[in-house]
Symmetry: C2
Subunit: 226 residues, 2 copies
Protein backbone atom coordinates (compact mmCIF):
# COMPACT_ATOMS: atom_id res chain seq x y z
CA UNK A 1 0.00 0.00 0.00
CA UNK A 2 1.14 3.56 -0.64
CA UNK A 3 2.52 5.44 2.31
CA UNK A 4 0.89 8.70 3.25
CA UNK A 5 3.91 10.77 2.33
CA UNK A 6 3.97 9.42 -1.23
CA UNK A 7 2.95 11.52 -4.18
CA UNK A 8 1.54 9.55 -7.08
CA UNK A 9 0.37 11.52 -10.08
CA UNK A 10 -0.70 10.25 -13.48
CA UNK A 11 -0.44 12.42 -16.57
CA UNK A 12 -3.06 10.75 -18.71
CA UNK A 13 -5.97 11.14 -21.05
CA UNK A 14 -9.41 9.78 -20.17
CA UNK A 15 -10.07 8.00 -23.48
CA UNK A 16 -6.62 6.42 -23.89
CA UNK A 17 -6.30 2.66 -23.33
CA UNK A 18 -2.64 3.18 -22.38
CA UNK A 19 -3.53 5.69 -19.69
CA UNK A 20 -6.43 3.56 -18.39
CA UNK A 21 -4.08 0.59 -17.95
CA UNK A 22 -2.14 2.55 -15.39
CA UNK A 23 -5.34 3.53 -13.58
CA UNK A 24 -6.39 -0.13 -13.42
CA UNK A 25 -3.03 -1.14 -11.95
CA UNK A 26 -2.98 1.63 -9.34
CA UNK A 27 -6.59 0.93 -8.36
CA UNK A 28 -5.88 -2.80 -8.09
CA UNK A 29 -3.01 -2.04 -5.72
CA UNK A 30 -5.07 0.44 -3.74
CA UNK A 31 -2.61 3.24 -4.45
CA UNK A 32 -4.23 6.69 -4.19
CA UNK A 33 -3.25 8.91 -7.11
CA UNK A 34 -3.96 12.26 -8.61
CA UNK A 35 -5.08 12.14 -12.24
CA UNK A 36 -4.02 15.00 -14.46
CA UNK A 37 -5.93 15.08 -17.77
CA UNK A 38 -3.59 16.13 -20.58
CA UNK A 39 -4.48 17.98 -23.75
CA UNK A 40 -2.80 15.93 -26.47
CA UNK A 41 -3.15 18.72 -29.03
CA UNK A 42 -1.45 21.23 -26.75
CA UNK A 43 1.08 19.45 -24.59
CA UNK A 44 1.73 20.84 -21.12
CA UNK A 45 5.23 21.88 -20.00
CA UNK A 46 4.96 19.18 -17.29
CA UNK A 47 4.33 16.45 -19.89
CA UNK A 48 7.13 17.66 -22.16
CA UNK A 49 9.53 17.84 -19.26
CA UNK A 50 8.47 14.48 -17.80
CA UNK A 51 8.68 12.54 -21.05
CA UNK A 52 11.14 14.48 -23.23
CA UNK A 53 11.90 11.41 -25.36
CA UNK A 54 8.40 10.49 -26.54
CA UNK A 55 6.34 13.49 -25.32
CA UNK A 56 3.41 11.12 -24.81
CA UNK A 57 1.00 10.10 -22.10
CA UNK A 58 0.82 8.16 -19.87
CA UNK A 59 3.51 9.36 -17.49
CA UNK A 60 3.50 8.26 -13.87
CA UNK A 61 5.13 10.70 -11.47
CA UNK A 62 6.09 8.95 -8.25
CA UNK A 63 7.46 11.42 -5.72
CA UNK A 64 8.36 13.60 -8.67
CA UNK A 65 10.22 10.88 -10.61
CA UNK A 66 8.71 10.32 -14.07
CA UNK A 67 8.16 6.92 -15.66
CA UNK A 68 6.70 6.59 -19.15
CA UNK A 69 5.45 3.88 -21.53
CA UNK A 70 2.49 1.97 -20.17
CA UNK A 71 4.10 -1.50 -20.04
CA UNK A 72 7.12 -0.08 -18.24
CA UNK A 73 4.81 1.75 -15.81
CA UNK A 74 2.84 -1.44 -15.09
CA UNK A 75 6.05 -3.30 -14.23
CA UNK A 76 7.15 -0.37 -12.08
CA UNK A 77 3.87 -0.41 -10.17
CA UNK A 78 4.19 -4.15 -9.62
CA UNK A 79 7.82 -3.80 -8.46
CA UNK A 80 6.97 -0.90 -6.12
CA UNK A 81 3.71 -1.98 -4.50
CA UNK A 82 3.91 -5.69 -4.07
CA UNK A 83 0.39 -6.42 -2.78
CA UNK A 84 -2.07 -7.84 -5.34
CA UNK A 85 0.62 -8.92 -7.81
CA UNK A 86 -0.06 -8.12 -11.45
CA UNK A 87 2.61 -10.34 -12.97
CA UNK A 88 2.81 -14.02 -12.02
CA UNK A 89 5.63 -14.99 -9.62
CA UNK A 90 6.95 -17.94 -11.66
CA UNK A 91 9.63 -16.82 -14.15
CA UNK A 92 8.16 -18.80 -17.05
CA UNK A 93 4.66 -17.47 -16.47
CA UNK A 94 6.11 -13.96 -16.12
CA UNK A 95 7.81 -14.40 -19.49
CA UNK A 96 4.57 -15.62 -21.08
CA UNK A 97 2.70 -12.60 -19.65
CA UNK A 98 5.32 -10.22 -21.05
CA UNK A 99 5.20 -12.02 -24.39
CA UNK A 100 1.42 -11.68 -24.73
CA UNK A 101 1.43 -8.07 -23.52
CA UNK A 102 3.90 -7.19 -26.26
CA UNK A 103 1.78 -9.17 -28.72
CA UNK A 104 -1.24 -7.00 -27.89
CA UNK A 105 0.69 -3.76 -28.38
CA UNK A 106 2.96 -4.65 -31.27
CA UNK A 107 0.70 -6.93 -33.26
CA UNK A 108 -2.99 -6.54 -32.41
CA UNK A 109 -2.95 -2.79 -31.79
CA UNK A 110 -0.82 -1.98 -34.85
CA UNK A 111 -2.94 -4.19 -37.12
CA UNK A 112 -6.30 -3.12 -35.71
CA UNK A 113 -5.39 0.54 -36.26
CA UNK A 114 -5.40 -0.22 -39.99
CA UNK A 115 -9.06 -1.26 -39.77
CA UNK A 116 -9.79 2.29 -38.67
CA UNK A 117 -7.44 3.98 -41.11
CA UNK A 118 -8.47 2.14 -44.30
CA UNK A 119 -11.55 1.68 -46.49
CA UNK A 120 -12.86 -0.96 -48.93
CA UNK A 121 -10.65 -3.89 -49.79
CA UNK A 122 -7.72 -2.62 -47.75
CA UNK A 123 -9.97 -2.54 -44.70
CA UNK A 124 -11.16 -6.10 -45.37
CA UNK A 125 -7.53 -7.23 -45.42
CA UNK A 126 -6.89 -5.42 -42.11
CA UNK A 127 -9.99 -7.03 -40.56
CA UNK A 128 -8.79 -10.49 -41.59
CA UNK A 129 -5.28 -9.82 -40.31
CA UNK A 130 -6.66 -8.60 -36.97
CA UNK A 131 -8.85 -11.69 -36.66
CA UNK A 132 -5.87 -13.95 -37.36
CA UNK A 133 -4.08 -12.36 -34.40
CA UNK A 134 -7.16 -12.45 -32.18
CA UNK A 135 -7.49 -16.18 -32.84
CA UNK A 136 -4.25 -16.63 -30.89
CA UNK A 137 -5.73 -14.70 -27.97
CA UNK A 138 -8.94 -16.73 -28.27
CA UNK A 139 -6.89 -19.91 -27.95
CA UNK A 140 -5.09 -18.57 -24.89
CA UNK A 141 -8.42 -18.08 -23.14
CA UNK A 142 -9.68 -21.66 -23.44
CA UNK A 143 -10.30 -23.06 -19.96
CA UNK A 144 -9.40 -19.78 -18.25
CA UNK A 145 -11.46 -16.99 -16.72
CA UNK A 146 -8.78 -14.42 -17.45
CA UNK A 147 -5.64 -14.23 -19.55
CA UNK A 148 -3.90 -14.19 -16.15
CA UNK A 149 -5.61 -17.49 -15.24
CA UNK A 150 -8.09 -17.49 -12.34
CA UNK A 151 -7.79 -13.77 -11.76
CA UNK A 152 -7.05 -10.53 -13.53
CA UNK A 153 -3.36 -10.09 -14.42
CA UNK A 154 -0.86 -8.22 -16.55
CA UNK A 155 -2.13 -9.43 -19.94
CA UNK A 156 -5.76 -8.74 -19.01
CA UNK A 157 -4.90 -5.17 -18.07
CA UNK A 158 -3.01 -4.69 -21.32
CA UNK A 159 -5.70 -6.43 -23.39
CA UNK A 160 -8.48 -4.15 -22.11
CA UNK A 161 -7.38 -2.42 -25.33
CA UNK A 162 -9.09 -5.28 -27.18
CA UNK A 163 -12.09 -5.55 -24.86
CA UNK A 164 -13.04 -1.91 -24.59
CA UNK A 165 -11.30 -0.04 -27.38
CA UNK A 166 -11.20 -2.38 -30.36
CA UNK A 167 -14.61 -3.86 -29.51
CA UNK A 168 -16.19 -0.44 -28.99
CA UNK A 169 -14.63 0.93 -32.15
CA UNK A 170 -16.34 -1.89 -34.08
CA UNK A 171 -19.70 -0.43 -33.18
CA UNK A 172 -18.70 2.93 -34.60
CA UNK A 173 -16.98 1.62 -37.74
CA UNK A 174 -19.90 -0.71 -38.41
CA UNK A 175 -17.61 -3.66 -39.16
CA UNK A 176 -17.77 -6.59 -36.75
CA UNK A 177 -14.10 -7.50 -36.28
CA UNK A 178 -14.70 -9.78 -33.27
CA UNK A 179 -18.03 -11.57 -33.91
CA UNK A 180 -19.21 -13.70 -30.99
CA UNK A 181 -19.64 -16.80 -33.20
CA UNK A 182 -15.99 -16.61 -34.16
CA UNK A 183 -14.64 -15.50 -30.77
CA UNK A 184 -16.79 -17.00 -28.01
CA UNK A 185 -13.88 -17.13 -25.55
CA UNK A 186 -13.02 -13.46 -26.02
CA UNK A 187 -16.66 -12.49 -25.48
CA UNK A 188 -16.83 -14.64 -22.34
CA UNK A 189 -13.63 -12.98 -21.11
CA UNK A 190 -15.07 -9.49 -21.68
CA UNK A 191 -18.03 -10.48 -19.50
CA UNK A 192 -15.61 -11.72 -16.83
CA UNK A 193 -13.73 -8.42 -16.99
CA UNK A 194 -16.98 -6.53 -16.51
CA UNK A 195 -17.55 -8.50 -13.30
CA UNK A 196 -14.36 -7.08 -11.80
CA UNK A 197 -14.99 -3.90 -9.77
CA UNK A 198 -11.61 -2.38 -10.62
CA UNK A 199 -12.30 -2.77 -14.34
CA UNK A 200 -15.81 -1.35 -14.10
CA UNK A 201 -14.42 1.63 -12.21
CA UNK A 202 -11.49 2.25 -14.56
CA UNK A 203 -12.84 1.95 -18.10
CA UNK A 204 -14.28 5.00 -19.86
CA UNK A 205 -18.08 5.43 -19.60
CA UNK A 206 -19.51 3.78 -22.71
CA UNK A 207 -21.68 6.55 -24.24
CA UNK A 208 -19.09 9.27 -23.81
CA UNK A 209 -16.41 6.92 -25.12
CA UNK A 210 -18.40 5.93 -28.23
CA UNK A 211 -19.01 9.62 -28.99
CA UNK A 212 -15.32 10.30 -28.60
CA UNK A 213 -14.34 7.41 -30.89
CA UNK A 214 -16.88 8.57 -33.46
CA UNK A 215 -15.54 12.14 -33.45
CA UNK A 216 -11.98 10.84 -33.73
CA UNK A 217 -12.87 8.57 -36.66
CA UNK A 218 -14.62 11.43 -38.45
CA UNK A 219 -11.50 13.56 -38.10
CA UNK A 220 -9.36 10.65 -39.41
CA UNK A 221 -11.65 10.26 -42.43
CA UNK A 222 -11.47 13.98 -43.05
CA UNK A 223 -7.68 13.82 -42.97
CA UNK A 224 -7.58 10.86 -45.37
CA UNK A 225 -9.73 12.81 -47.85
CA UNK A 226 -7.60 15.94 -47.69
CA UNK B 1 24.11 -21.05 -11.48
CA UNK B 2 22.41 -23.64 -13.64
CA UNK B 3 21.89 -27.04 -12.12
CA UNK B 4 23.34 -30.02 -13.90
CA UNK B 5 19.98 -31.48 -14.75
CA UNK B 6 18.91 -28.34 -16.59
CA UNK B 7 18.69 -28.21 -20.34
CA UNK B 8 19.27 -24.78 -21.84
CA UNK B 9 19.19 -24.50 -25.60
CA UNK B 10 19.22 -21.38 -27.73
CA UNK B 11 17.75 -21.34 -31.21
CA UNK B 12 19.68 -18.47 -32.70
CA UNK B 13 21.64 -17.12 -35.61
CA UNK B 14 25.29 -16.17 -35.26
CA UNK B 15 25.02 -12.73 -36.92
CA UNK B 16 21.83 -11.59 -35.18
CA UNK B 17 22.14 -8.92 -32.47
CA UNK B 18 18.95 -10.29 -30.87
CA UNK B 19 20.37 -13.78 -30.62
CA UNK B 20 23.74 -12.51 -29.35
CA UNK B 21 22.00 -10.62 -26.53
CA UNK B 22 20.79 -13.90 -25.14
CA UNK B 23 24.27 -15.41 -25.39
CA UNK B 24 25.72 -12.44 -23.49
CA UNK B 25 23.14 -12.84 -20.70
CA UNK B 26 23.64 -16.60 -20.36
CA UNK B 27 27.42 -16.21 -20.40
CA UNK B 28 27.26 -13.44 -17.79
CA UNK B 29 25.26 -15.75 -15.53
CA UNK B 30 27.56 -18.68 -16.17
CA UNK B 31 24.71 -20.78 -17.53
CA UNK B 32 25.94 -23.54 -19.87
CA UNK B 33 23.83 -23.73 -23.03
CA UNK B 34 23.65 -25.48 -26.32
CA UNK B 35 23.55 -23.15 -29.33
CA UNK B 36 21.51 -24.27 -32.31
CA UNK B 37 22.22 -22.20 -35.44
CA UNK B 38 19.00 -21.67 -37.38
CA UNK B 39 18.61 -21.20 -41.11
CA UNK B 40 16.37 -18.16 -41.40
CA UNK B 41 15.57 -18.86 -45.04
CA UNK B 42 14.45 -22.40 -44.26
CA UNK B 43 12.95 -22.49 -40.81
CA UNK B 44 13.30 -25.71 -38.81
CA UNK B 45 10.27 -27.58 -37.45
CA UNK B 46 11.68 -26.95 -33.95
CA UNK B 47 11.75 -23.18 -34.49
CA UNK B 48 8.24 -23.13 -35.99
CA UNK B 49 6.93 -25.23 -33.16
CA UNK B 50 8.75 -23.26 -30.45
CA UNK B 51 7.71 -19.82 -31.66
CA UNK B 52 4.49 -20.38 -33.63
CA UNK B 53 3.41 -16.75 -33.18
CA UNK B 54 6.42 -14.93 -34.66
CA UNK B 55 8.41 -17.84 -36.15
CA UNK B 56 11.58 -15.92 -35.36
CA UNK B 57 14.85 -16.40 -33.52
CA UNK B 58 15.95 -16.12 -30.78
CA UNK B 59 14.06 -18.76 -28.83
CA UNK B 60 15.36 -19.99 -25.50
CA UNK B 61 14.36 -23.53 -24.62
CA UNK B 62 14.69 -24.10 -20.89
CA UNK B 63 13.96 -27.71 -19.98
CA UNK B 64 11.90 -27.84 -23.16
CA UNK B 65 9.83 -24.72 -22.43
CA UNK B 66 10.19 -22.11 -25.17
CA UNK B 67 10.55 -18.37 -24.55
CA UNK B 68 10.83 -15.93 -27.43
CA UNK B 69 11.53 -12.22 -28.02
CA UNK B 70 14.96 -11.14 -26.87
CA UNK B 71 13.85 -8.60 -24.23
CA UNK B 72 11.45 -11.12 -22.73
CA UNK B 73 14.20 -13.75 -22.72
CA UNK B 74 16.65 -11.40 -20.98
CA UNK B 75 14.10 -10.74 -18.21
CA UNK B 76 13.45 -14.48 -17.95
CA UNK B 77 17.16 -15.22 -17.58
CA UNK B 78 17.45 -12.55 -14.88
CA UNK B 79 14.37 -13.89 -13.05
CA UNK B 80 15.60 -17.50 -13.26
CA UNK B 81 19.32 -17.22 -12.48
CA UNK B 82 19.67 -14.50 -9.92
CA UNK B 83 23.48 -14.27 -9.70
CA UNK B 84 25.12 -11.38 -11.57
CA UNK B 85 21.91 -9.37 -11.90
CA UNK B 86 21.28 -7.82 -15.31
CA UNK B 87 18.50 -5.44 -14.28
CA UNK B 88 19.02 -3.04 -11.37
CA UNK B 89 17.25 -3.95 -8.11
CA UNK B 90 15.68 -0.54 -7.46
CA UNK B 91 12.23 -0.28 -9.11
CA UNK B 92 12.88 3.16 -10.59
CA UNK B 93 16.21 2.14 -12.07
CA UNK B 94 14.59 -1.05 -13.39
CA UNK B 95 11.95 1.09 -15.09
CA UNK B 96 14.61 3.33 -16.63
CA UNK B 97 16.50 0.29 -17.92
CA UNK B 98 13.32 -1.10 -19.50
CA UNK B 99 12.55 2.29 -20.98
CA UNK B 100 15.96 2.63 -22.66
CA UNK B 101 15.96 -0.98 -23.85
CA UNK B 102 12.66 -0.36 -25.62
CA UNK B 103 14.07 2.88 -26.98
CA UNK B 104 16.94 0.99 -28.60
CA UNK B 105 14.62 -1.54 -30.23
CA UNK B 106 11.63 0.60 -31.13
CA UNK B 107 13.37 3.85 -32.02
CA UNK B 108 17.07 3.44 -32.80
CA UNK B 109 16.82 0.05 -34.52
CA UNK B 110 13.75 0.95 -36.58
CA UNK B 111 15.24 4.29 -37.67
CA UNK B 112 18.75 2.95 -38.33
CA UNK B 113 17.31 0.23 -40.57
CA UNK B 114 16.21 3.02 -42.92
CA UNK B 115 19.83 4.12 -43.34
CA UNK B 116 20.49 0.71 -44.82
CA UNK B 117 17.32 0.52 -46.87
CA UNK B 118 17.44 3.96 -48.51
CA UNK B 119 19.67 5.94 -50.86
CA UNK B 120 20.39 9.63 -51.56
CA UNK B 121 18.35 12.26 -49.78
CA UNK B 122 16.13 9.71 -48.05
CA UNK B 123 19.22 8.13 -46.56
CA UNK B 124 20.51 11.51 -45.38
CA UNK B 125 17.20 12.06 -43.58
CA UNK B 126 17.48 8.62 -41.96
CA UNK B 127 21.07 9.33 -40.87
CA UNK B 128 19.98 12.59 -39.23
CA UNK B 129 17.01 10.93 -37.53
CA UNK B 130 19.26 8.15 -36.20
CA UNK B 131 21.75 10.68 -34.88
CA UNK B 132 18.97 12.59 -33.12
CA UNK B 133 18.08 9.39 -31.26
CA UNK B 134 21.70 8.51 -30.55
CA UNK B 135 22.19 11.94 -28.96
CA UNK B 136 19.85 10.81 -26.20
CA UNK B 137 21.97 7.71 -25.63
CA UNK B 138 25.11 9.87 -25.72
CA UNK B 139 23.62 12.04 -22.95
CA UNK B 140 22.77 8.96 -20.87
CA UNK B 141 26.43 7.92 -20.94
CA UNK B 142 27.90 11.12 -19.48
CA UNK B 143 29.76 10.29 -16.27
CA UNK B 144 29.13 6.55 -16.61
CA UNK B 145 31.24 3.64 -17.78
CA UNK B 146 28.22 1.70 -18.93
CA UNK B 147 24.57 2.42 -19.59
CA UNK B 148 24.01 0.24 -16.52
CA UNK B 149 26.30 2.54 -14.47
CA UNK B 150 29.55 1.12 -13.12
CA UNK B 151 29.05 -2.25 -14.73
CA UNK B 152 27.43 -3.91 -17.71
CA UNK B 153 23.63 -4.14 -17.44
CA UNK B 154 20.38 -4.68 -19.31
CA UNK B 155 20.61 -1.61 -21.55
CA UNK B 156 24.24 -2.30 -22.43
CA UNK B 157 23.37 -5.82 -23.52
CA UNK B 158 20.47 -4.51 -25.62
CA UNK B 159 22.52 -1.62 -27.03
CA UNK B 160 25.31 -3.89 -28.29
CA UNK B 161 23.05 -3.55 -31.34
CA UNK B 162 24.36 0.03 -31.63
CA UNK B 163 27.97 -0.77 -30.71
CA UNK B 164 28.55 -3.77 -32.93
CA UNK B 165 25.81 -3.83 -35.54
CA UNK B 166 25.01 -0.22 -36.36
CA UNK B 167 28.64 0.82 -35.97
CA UNK B 168 29.92 -2.05 -38.09
CA UNK B 169 27.29 -1.49 -40.74
CA UNK B 170 28.59 2.09 -41.10
CA UNK B 171 31.88 0.76 -42.37
CA UNK B 172 30.12 -1.24 -45.05
CA UNK B 173 27.62 1.47 -46.06
CA UNK B 174 30.39 4.06 -46.15
CA UNK B 175 28.31 6.62 -44.24
CA UNK B 176 29.56 7.60 -40.81
CA UNK B 177 26.37 7.66 -38.73
CA UNK B 178 28.14 7.79 -35.35
CA UNK B 179 31.26 9.98 -35.88
CA UNK B 180 33.55 10.13 -32.85
CA UNK B 181 33.57 13.96 -32.82
CA UNK B 182 29.80 13.97 -32.45
CA UNK B 183 29.51 10.95 -30.14
CA UNK B 184 32.61 10.79 -27.92
CA UNK B 185 30.68 9.13 -25.05
CA UNK B 186 29.32 6.35 -27.26
CA UNK B 187 32.80 5.65 -28.62
CA UNK B 188 34.22 5.59 -25.06
CA UNK B 189 31.43 3.18 -24.08
CA UNK B 190 32.21 0.85 -27.01
CA UNK B 191 35.82 0.71 -25.76
CA UNK B 192 34.54 -0.11 -22.27
CA UNK B 193 32.37 -2.88 -23.70
CA UNK B 194 35.38 -4.34 -25.49
CA UNK B 195 37.17 -4.55 -22.14
CA UNK B 196 34.50 -6.92 -20.82
CA UNK B 197 35.41 -10.59 -21.36
CA UNK B 198 31.79 -11.69 -21.78
CA UNK B 199 31.26 -9.14 -24.54
CA UNK B 200 34.49 -10.04 -26.33
CA UNK B 201 33.47 -13.68 -26.20
CA UNK B 202 29.89 -13.12 -27.36
CA UNK B 203 30.05 -10.69 -30.29
CA UNK B 204 30.52 -11.97 -33.83
CA UNK B 205 34.13 -12.05 -35.12
CA UNK B 206 34.63 -8.75 -36.95
CA UNK B 207 35.86 -9.84 -40.40
CA UNK B 208 33.29 -12.58 -40.84
CA UNK B 209 30.60 -10.21 -39.57
CA UNK B 210 31.56 -7.40 -41.96
CA UNK B 211 31.49 -9.86 -44.88
CA UNK B 212 28.06 -11.03 -43.78
CA UNK B 213 26.71 -7.47 -43.48
CA UNK B 214 28.15 -6.64 -46.91
CA UNK B 215 26.50 -9.65 -48.54
CA UNK B 216 23.21 -8.84 -46.84
CA UNK B 217 23.34 -5.20 -47.98
CA UNK B 218 24.10 -6.27 -51.54
CA UNK B 219 21.06 -8.52 -51.51
CA UNK B 220 18.94 -5.66 -50.11
CA UNK B 221 20.16 -3.33 -52.88
CA UNK B 222 19.40 -5.98 -55.45
CA UNK B 223 15.88 -6.31 -54.10
CA UNK B 224 15.32 -2.54 -54.17
CA UNK B 225 16.38 -2.43 -57.85
CA UNK B 226 14.10 -5.30 -58.88
Amino acid sequence: MAERSEEVKLLGMWASPFSRRVEIALTLKGVPYEFSEQDIANKSPLLLQSNPVHKMIPVLLHNGKPISESLVILEYIDDTWQNNPILPQDPYHRAMARFWARFVDEQIYVTAMKVVGKVGEERDVAVEATRDLLKLLEKELVGKNFLGGERLGFVDIVATLVAFWLMRTEEVVGVKVVPVEMFPEIHRWVENLLDVDVIKKCIPPEDEHLNYIKARMDSLKLKSVQ
